[in-house]
């Protein structure tokens, strides 16, 4: 989970780093008017997606008219498609020089890595490519929770070599690096980055920006930290944006779900396209089944098939959770068809089919919208699942009349998907003709 800059900075401050004075976080121009401000100030768009500087999401205002104009313009802006809802106002800093400093996770070895450069304020990946000698980098192989002084000293020596002006700040820099490292370990971050870390004209070191991505897996034991910055420890957001309505609902119920369509709630469908909801088993197949639907759509259906979601049932979901997976898609205004696959490993085919049928019966009784379900089940508890399925078909044929589940792996899943899509188009055509419009 990524934190907004103002949240990250509050945490930085708790760990002894100096941050620019935060004046307010506002959501409207009216809020600006009641503030007494000492100009110049910085106005920053609080979005999770990166690249906001280039997109006009960071501006300096020298007087109140300028501030008003910037605020009203910025609140209308979108950055890479994501709207700006909040702005941070903070004091502007006099810059003498800029440093890059981060503590992150090495994507290759998963070790903690400290990276610093005396050329801060610009894209670090760009520097890494063009001027690698400007970057100092070291891995912490023993996952120690406190940074050894000698390593911090090495980093500082490097910075001083590159920018002799820093010599007066030797100790301050060392403390900053050690603090950021402790912060990284204590809040269990994945990424902890200050770019730029500013050296002011009066020899202070200030974190002008703050990027903090937390490890989702450790959030459960970071509740006090999250509460301290007013984040509900049971909530969740993406690294780029807040959740959609369906995503939030699924998160609450307890299974991973992502919308692939923008604005799913008020989605306007294209009439020739078939929109496919997916209830796959397992995260990996959840990702792959999206590709399969697209590939099959491109190859056999003139690119008219659009997958609408990612879903993962996780290990061994409960009956009601399985039912909710189908409910969420049948409530989804875009979905024309659901494709499902249960390859029971840890999760049982039996629970799957029972949950699926529970949702269909429930919707039938309550007269809720029902769409065809196509799929296959194989693996753990298949025999029991099959017995249940056959009995259910005898007992309640009506709710299950558009449920097409192949038992066993007589057909590979790609072919089941193809059949399902074909069926989906057939139903769509019949509906059109039958409806007379």
């Amino acid at each position: 989970m990524k934190l907004y800059e103002h949240e990250a900075k509050q945490i930085f401050e708790k760990f002894g780093l100096t941050i620019p004075k935060q004046i307010a976080v506002i959501e409207t121009t009216e809020e600006l008017e009641v503030l007494t401000l000492n100009f110049p100030i910085m106005i920053k768009a609080m979005v999770l997606i990166g690249g906001r500087g280039k997109a006009g999401g960071i501006k300096k205002a020298d007087n109140s008219d300028e501030a008003k104009q910037i605020v009203s313009e910025m609140l209308d802006l979108t950055i890479h498609g994501y709207p700006i809802d909040k702005l941070l106002l903070e004091e502007a800093i006099d810059i003498a020089s800029e440093i890059y400093l981060s503590v992150t996770t090495d994507p290759a070895t998963f070790d903690v890595v400290i990276v610093t450069s005396a050329s801060g304020g610009i894209d670090i990946e760009e520097i890494a490519r063009t001027k690698p000698e400007e970057i100092w980098k070291t891995s912490i192989l023993d996952n120690s929770k406190v940074l050894p002084d000698s390593i911090a000293q090495e980093a500082v020596d490097f910075l001083i070599k590159k920018n002799p002006d820093l010599i007066a700040l030797d100790n301050q820099l060392k403390t900053t690096i050690c603090s950021l490292f402790s912060l990284f370990q204590q809040v269990e971050a994945k990424v902890c980055e200050i770019n730029p870390l500013i050296l002011t004209k009066d020899n202070k070191i200030i974190a002008a920006d703050a990027k903090l991505v937390l490890d989702d897996n450790s959030l459960y034991r970071q509740a006090p930290m999250l509460k301290s910055i007013s984040i509900d420890p049971n909530s969740k957001r993406h690294d780029v944006a807040e959740q959609t309505q369906f995503e939030a609902l699924a998160y609450k119920i307890g299974f991973p779900y992502l919308d692939l369509l923008s604005e799913p709630v008020n989605f306007v469908k294209e009439k020739d396209k078939l929109y496919v909801g997916l209830v796959p088993g397992g995260a990996g197949y959840g990702i792959f089944s999206i590709d399969e639907v697209v590939n099959i759509g491109n190859r056999y259906f003139d690119s008219n098939v659009i997958p609408i979601n990612f879903m993962d049932s996780g290990g061994g979901p409960s009956l009601s959770k399985v039912a909710d997976m189908f409910h969420i898609l049948m409530d989804h205004p875009a979905a024309d068809l659901i494709i499902t696959s249960r390859f029971g490993g840890i999760s049982s085919c039996d629970i799957f089919i029972q949950g699926l049928i529970m949702s269909l019966r429930d919707r039938f009784m309550k007269n809720k919208r029902m769409i065809p379900v196509f799929g296959r089940m194989v693996g753990t508890d298949l025999a029991a699942a099959r017995a249940f399925f056959e009995r259910a078909k005898r007992e309640t044929p009506e709710p299950l009349k558009d449920l097409h589940i192949i038992i066993g792996n007589q057909k590979i899943m790609a072919d089941v998907i193809k059949d399902g899509i074909e069926y989906g188009f057939k139903v769509k055509k019949e509906l059109k003709q039958g409806g007379g419009n």
């Binding site: 070790d111 995260a283 990996g284 066993g408 590979i412």
Partner: protein, 714 residues
């Protein structure tokens, strides 16, 4: 017909073990079994332990803190720590870890430190910082670490799986034998593994190893650590990797292939998922997220990197099949055979859910306790020795252990029982004993504080003697005897009968009758009542009390009525001066005409109660096979004369007859039964809490005896 599996020594798994721990590998070559350990026995760990065993994996032991000393699936021993387990089972080569993410780190590190070469970390959502701590140790021990968040590993030719993979993988088959060749699959996702294998099998391509490397963002062994390793196994013809967006594992592998082509002598096909994934949104697996603004981790960065290293990259099941087929140009088994095997699975009836007991095997006319025929135990062993056998599974090695139990039992008689006065007198001995058990504070304290279960049962027997002495008004006599002079068996006799110096023959005869009643497996209602309470983890003495109170005239309590009947037959014969057989006939005839049952006859399971002959014989030897015993021997035949039907005498009838001939209170026949059965009920209580999950569905008819096979008492 089952085809013989590949010997483990020829398989990929053994090859992997040899690469990291050559010494262990050569030990395994000798023992011919690859031993595994299960760490974490929650719902999933326990269930999959069974599925692994059914598949053919040798599950040697389990580890679960606080459950040490118990067993799982009745026979697999459980230890409190991996450290303890490895001392008992030094050849364990693989451990699978099923702990919750909040405790997975410590469990994993502990396992790695035992030196086990292959660790399969099933747990998902482990915090990144914890994973790094694990990796620090894993690197030091050169462990092959699959996961976290792996579905496990499976080796179809050897028939070994560790983890939760379903049994859908197919090995090479030629000339009716399993072969080691095929493709080896490595995947970051579980479900993808299944879909991959299933697609390949549909084209006749075998898998000799299917390895889940884990779906978390930070994992143990990566593609770059494993691909070249498995590729150098001689029977791997091709490697398939299933990658996905996020991280840089695929890019790293590609890099290594470019810089060290000699490490990669065989073809690789990569199926990469996530061509249509949105940026910045984690897709289920903690590792599957396209990090915004990074040069790695996207579908196209992976595809490009791998293609540069000459790897075929596919994104569709059909393309995977076509690509692999064109590279191998062969099939490894008859595709029809595969579909036959699979359809047998999906057409199979749902398996019956059975469970096991190791205590007593009851078959018609046979009662085997821990494998020993009960009649031999009655003939050759004392009650405390039998108690020891029931609890521990074996007879004691030394006499000292029995002497200690005897001390405990005798001491239990001597200890105070202050509050028994309040219990109302009842002619029903089960009801009184059950009540005493419930209110006896000393027993309750002893049972909850002493961990040695045999001692608890010995203590219980001592208390039972005290209760019976109270019921029979023998407490004063009992208290007047100094227990240094007498044995526990003497005290039992004294407590029950009230006779101070009955002579060793009588004492031995009573003890034998008690021993005859110790257990009858899961079949009797009393054992079932105790099990119901055990499954809810009720206190020991409460579960015992429930079982004892299920012993009524209908079950186990017929001895008293039988004794009374035999006595009346004998009296009538004396009164009317007719032969015993005639008076039996007359009495039986009139009883049946009056619509009464003849007690002590008939058994739900046995036509020849295995306990009867030895008891008659011991009575004979002791000189107490008198008229009632004679009647008890003829009663079945007489019944045939009366009703034309066969109803054999049962143990209650025999005990009734002997007690009558010993001239002791007929009421004691039932007390003897209850007293003896207490030992068996206690054994079932402890077996339930030590080997079964709490509040399980108790299907009494689905029990299978899984204990020691038949053996003789020395």
């Amino acid at each position: 017909m089952a085809i013989e599996k590949l010997s483990s020594e020829q398989g990929l798994l053994h090859y992997l073990i040899k690469k990291v721990r050559p010494e262990l590998a050569s030990k395994i070559s000798e023992s011919k079994t690859i031993e595994t350990m299960i760490v974490g026995l929650g719902r999933q760990g326990t269930r999959h332990a069974q599925l692994m065993m059914e598949y053919g994996t040798d599950v040697t032991c389990g580890v679960a803190p606080g459950k040490g000393g118990r067993t799982v699936h009745e026979t697999v021993p459980v230890y409190n720590s991996a450290k303890e387990a490895i001392i008992e089972h030094p050849n364990i080569a693989i451990a699978s870890i099923w702990r919750h993410y909040s405790t997975a780190k410590d469990a994993t590190i502990e396992v790695i430190r035992t030196g086990i070469p292959i660790v399969v970390l099933i747990s998902e959502f482990i915090p990144l910082k914890d994973v790094r701590d694990i990796l620090v140790v894993a690197r030091k021990y050169k462990t092959i670490l699959f996961g976290g968040n792996t579905p496990g590993i499976i080796f179809p030719p050897e028939g070994i799986k560790v983890g939760m993979l379903p049994d859908i993988f197919q090995a090479e088959q030629k000339e009716g034998k399993i072969g080691p060749k095929g493709v080896t699959i490595l995947s970051r996702s579980g479900a993808i593994l299944y879909h991959l294998s299933d697609a390949l099998a549909s084209a006749g391509i075998a898998q000799n190893g299917v390895l889940g490397v884990g779906g978390d963002g930070a994992i143990g062994s990566r593609f770059v650590d494993l691909v070249s390793l498995v590729m150098n196994y001689e029977n791997t013809d091709l490697v398939v990797i299933a990658g996905e967006i996020g991280g840089m594992q695929e890019e790293l592998l590609a890099q290594d292939m470019l810089s060290h082509p000699e490490k990669y002598p065989k073809p690789i096909v990569a199926l990469i998922s996530g061509a249509n994934a949105p940026e910045g949104k984690t897709m289920g697996h903690a590792g599957a997220v396209v990090a915004p603004g990074q040069s790695y981790g996207t579908y196209s960065s992976k595809k490009e990197a791998l293609e540069k290293a000459d790897v075929d990259v596919v994104n569709h099941q059909r393309d995977l099949i076509d690509t692999v087929k064109s590279k191998l140009n062969r099939i490894y088994f008859k595709i029809d055979d595969y579909y036959k095997k699979m359809s047998d699975k999906w057409n199979a009836k749902p398996p019956e859910k059975t469970w096991g007991t190791l205590i007593t095997n009851v078959m018609p006319n046979n009662i085997m306790i821990r494998g020993y025929p009960l009649q031999e135990i009655i003939a050759k062993k004392g009650l405390l020795e039998t108690l020891y056998l029931l609890q521990r599974g074996e007879f004691a090695d030394t006499e000292e252990e029995i002497i200690e139990l005897e001390k405990i039992a005798k001491n239990a008689i001597r200890e105070e029982f202050p509050n028994y006065d309040g219990v109302p007198k009842s002619p029903d001995v089960s009801k009184m004993l059950g009540t005493f058990l419930q209110i006896d504070k000393r027993l309750s304290n002893y049972a909850s504080s002493v961990s040695d279960e045999s001692k608890v049962v010995a203590y219980t027997l001592g208390r039972m003697v005290k209760y019976l002495a109270i019921i029979q008004d023998n407490l004063e006599v009992l208290n007047s005897v100094k227990d240094t002079d007498v044995s526990f068996a003497d005290l039992i006799y004294l407590g029950l009968v009230g006779e101070a110096q009955p002579g060793s023959l009588k004492v031995r005869l009573l003890e034998a009758m008690i021993t005859a009643c110790v257990d009858h497996g899961i079949t009797p209602p009393s054992a079932q009542a105790t099990l119901v309470l055990s499954s809810t983890r009720a206190p020991y003495e409460i579960a015992l009390s429930a079982g004892i109170q299920a012993i009524t005239d209908v079950h186990g309590g017929a001895g008293q009525k039988a004794a009374e009947f035999f006595l009346s037959v004998v009296n009538k014969s004396k009164e009317k001066n007719i032969p015993l057989e005639e008076s039996t006939f007359e009495m039986m005839n009139s009883a049946i005409k009056a619509g009464k049952r003849i007690e002590g006859l008939g058994h739900r399971i046995h036509t020849q109660d295995p306990r009867k002959d030895i008891l008659w014989q011991l009575a004979e030897e002791a000189g107490y096979a008198k008229d009632c015993v004679t009647v008890s021997k003829m009663v079945s035949d007489v019944l045939f004369r009366v009703r034309g039907m066969n109803l054999p005498i049962n143990v209650d009838g025999v005990i009734g007859a002997i007690t009558a001939d010993m001239d002791i209170d007929p009421k004691l026949a039932k007390a003897i039964f209850v007293f003896g059965r207490t030992v068996g009920l206690a054994a079932h209580y402890y077996e339930e809490i030590n080997t079964q999950p709490q509040m399980r569905r108790l299907a009494f008819d689905k029990v299978i005896y899984k204990g020691h096979s038949i053996r003789s008492v020395e």
